[in-house]
Symmetry: C2
Subunit: 442 residues, 2 copies
């Protein structure tokens, strides 16, 4: 890498061309992810447009967004002319809207420009925003020979072909013929005689996580996308779905750990700090509220300082129970079974589980507290408070992701610091509530 | 579903057969996931073996394991005779080893039995354990026509074909010919003239997460698997990789939320409680240690009860910082770039980020504490302790996943309750340490 950096600085064209010769484009993309925009541009200008387009399409999104600012709309248009429509649309999504228009009007391939414009109408996170317009479409009345002719014509547009989609005269999707079947069938056979009409398709407005679930469930290579009239408008291949699944997992991880923005370890220190501060501040706010609240019990603490010893225990258990509960719901929302229970039944089941766990933990803690501090009242307070905290945290952990999901918010947010902070406060309320109650009557 | 349940109880064969007619097998699997083993067996016995085998292969793993106990080895062998080798091996992994042998020796298809035995040698989570033996292999000297003949012969064994793999006389993998190219090339062309030698392969011992990364990076449909000698021994298709990625995400979610075992919301209350208790007990143990530790400061708390007010704030911030740091490392380990920094540089960067965050938070908290409790010493204690806790938690959160990864343990464990508990204790130590120090000198 250092050797390459030197070559770029020395503008050693021969060395650069030679060392990139025959290297897989995805590897070059990963390599250029580590260089700055100016050096990358220098390298890409040495390569032919098609190769450069492919490499740009494989760059990390952040890097690419930064990188594209160093190109003119006309140059970007040339790259997009060489990409599949979905990859082209992905790049255009990243541009400011004025530049986006300029790029589209600079494109030479008018059909492709038109197709990409259509794709840009859809949200990025629904089937319409994921699909590519490139596909092989055959009319019911075509012969196999005509299909192969069509594949030949489209060959250079299409990276991957898995099947020929069969439509009627109104473009309504009727089924598909797999490439394997195409190879094994006689040339003069009519498509209408051999196509499979038992196929899976998705509609343009289906959210990406559902498209991913469909592809996963039916083990598909690609899924055709239809509009409301059932007309074939595009297809989504499963390599795009692998990206969707990976991104969703990353998003969930970030929500669970309280990081805003899509940051990575190699982002700048400033960006990393900025992505982490908001949730830390919320946690701090929660801690301040907790301090304010405990302050009301100052006199009780002076009398019975042992009450303060068990604050960490109550808080930690509440937090753990809440995260466990929400993560079980998040998991089950991500992999819906054939029949889903209603909210009431789910809450009831989670209640039963938390009664079992709460009882075991409360019993244990009773003896632990007696061991640390031989005051029986404290042991009773901590034990009862813990039991209540387990029940309440479990309830909150169960209902929050279900409600978030109902309002189309990512339910994984419920496993993040916001809910944990809320649970901490509730736990303290319960603990000091139980304590004052029991001490009053003892 | 209730209607179907009634039909099963009434043994209404006609209704059952009719309602399953033409339904996608994956849908039937998802449907039977909700029934008990006895009813499912009754339903499957009504269908032909091939359909039944496909449905069994699509069942949820837990359900299937339970379900297979109601079959004789001979029956299971019949199902496996109808499955691809990788799906067959998946089922055999779930059987006790004696029954596994019985099944293999009862299989009719000896070639398949032999292939599956080979697959069983590999760990389930490396390329060898993921791959299938079914693939189209062509010698360098074959013509396209011979390839198509081979596809015809293998057609019923192979669900999906993406490419013909080209080998030399020693079975060494040389390259591939895509199905698209096969269709577009003249029958009498030699494979040796048209194959792509610029291909990606993986070795049998490559861990599944790396195979997933390869498939994702190069947008592959399938990847050929070679042994140490470079000989072609199998292939992995990307629908299997989608399952791997999904399972890894689930595993991570469970580790992060402190759930042992692979439990789902619809498991029994007992199983759910059992999966959750271990981590809750560890948390409880941590809480007890914290109580024990705070106990040493009983007299200080009586004198300055406000010290106890800020325990939640210190703990929560430490926990949040730790999880953020570890999750950034986990993310970056899951998506390795072209060049990785060494551990020292990573820790240094994380230190810088935590200094920024720690300073901002410490400054904020200083004024917050003054607002709640106008004692300047307390404000200084909390502020200094918080700064130190942010630095330490960030360090722990960064180094733990890196170390776990080095010992081949899933780094996501670092975001789970174990490390959080350890961080809580460390945070308290620092807090009370700083407090005693500052009060002594003030």
């Amino acid at each position: 890498m250092e050797r390459f950096q030197l070559a770029v600085e020395a503008q050693d064209e021969a060395f650069i061309k030679e060392s990139l010769e025959g290297v897989n484009h995805a590897d070059i993309s990963a390599f250029l992810d580590e260089f700055d925009a100016k050096d990358s541009k220098y390298v890409l200008d040495l390569l032919d447009t098609e190769t450069a387009a492919d490499i740009i399409s494989g760059l990390d999104e952040d890097v690419r967004e930064q990188f594209l600012t160093s190109f003119e709309p006309g140059e970007i248009a040339e790259f997009i002319d060489h990409l599949q429509t979905d990859d082209g649309a992905d790049i255009l999504y990243e541009l400011p809207s004025k530049e986006r228009e300029e790029v589209i009007y600079s494109m030479e391939n008018e059909k492709k420009a038109h197709d990409i414009l259509e794709l840009l109408h859809y949200d990025e996170d629904v089937a319409g925003g994921l699909m590519a317009k490139e596909l092989i479409k055959a009319n019911l009345n075509w012969t196999i020979k005509q299909c192969i002719e069509e594949i030949r014509k489209q060959a250079e547009n299409l990276d991957k072909i898995y099947a020929v989609y069969v439509v009627d005269n109104n473009d309504k999707l009727l089924g598909k013929v797999s490439l394997k079947k195409l190879i094994l069938t006689r040339d003069d056979t009519k498509v209408g005689e051999i196509y499979e009409d038992d196929f899976v398709s998705v509609e343009t407005f289906m959210p990406e996580e559902e498209v991913a679930a469909v592809i996963r469930k039916y083990d598909l290579d690609a899924v055709p996308v239809v509009n409301l009239k059932g007309q074939l408008v595009g297809r989504i291949t499963n390599d795009d779905i692998i990206d969707v699944i990976t991104e969703l997992a990353e998003e969930e991880r970030q929500l669970m750990s309280g990081i805003t923005d899509d940051v990575e370890e190699d982002d700048s220190i400033w960006k990393l700090s900025k992505a982490r501060l908001p949730w830390l501040m919320i946690g701090l706010g929660g801690g301040a509220l907790a301090a304010f609240f405990i302050g009301f019990y100052e006199e009780e603490i002076i009398l019975i300082p042992a009450m303060s010893f068990f604050i960490p225990l109550i808080m930690a258990t509440g937090g753990n129970v809440g995260i466990q509960s929400s993560s079980i719901i998040v998991q089950s929302l991500a992999n819906p079974g054939a029949f889903e229970e209603n909210m009431g039944k789910r809450l009831f089941k989670s209640l039963l589980v938390s009664i079992v766990n709460g009882a075991v933990l409360a019993l244990m803690v009773y003896f632990v507290v007696l061991g640390i501090n031989s005051d029986e009242t404290i042991a009773r307070v901590v034990s009862i408070a813990l039991f209540s905290v387990v029940l309440l945290s479990s309830f909150m952990g169960t209902i929050t992701p279900l409600l978030l999901d109902r309002f189309d918010i990512n339910p994984a947010l419920a496993s993040g610091p916001f809910i944990t902070t809320a649970n901490d406060l509730l736990g303290l309320l319960i603990y000091f509530g139980v304590a004052s109650f029991l001490y009053q009557f003892s």
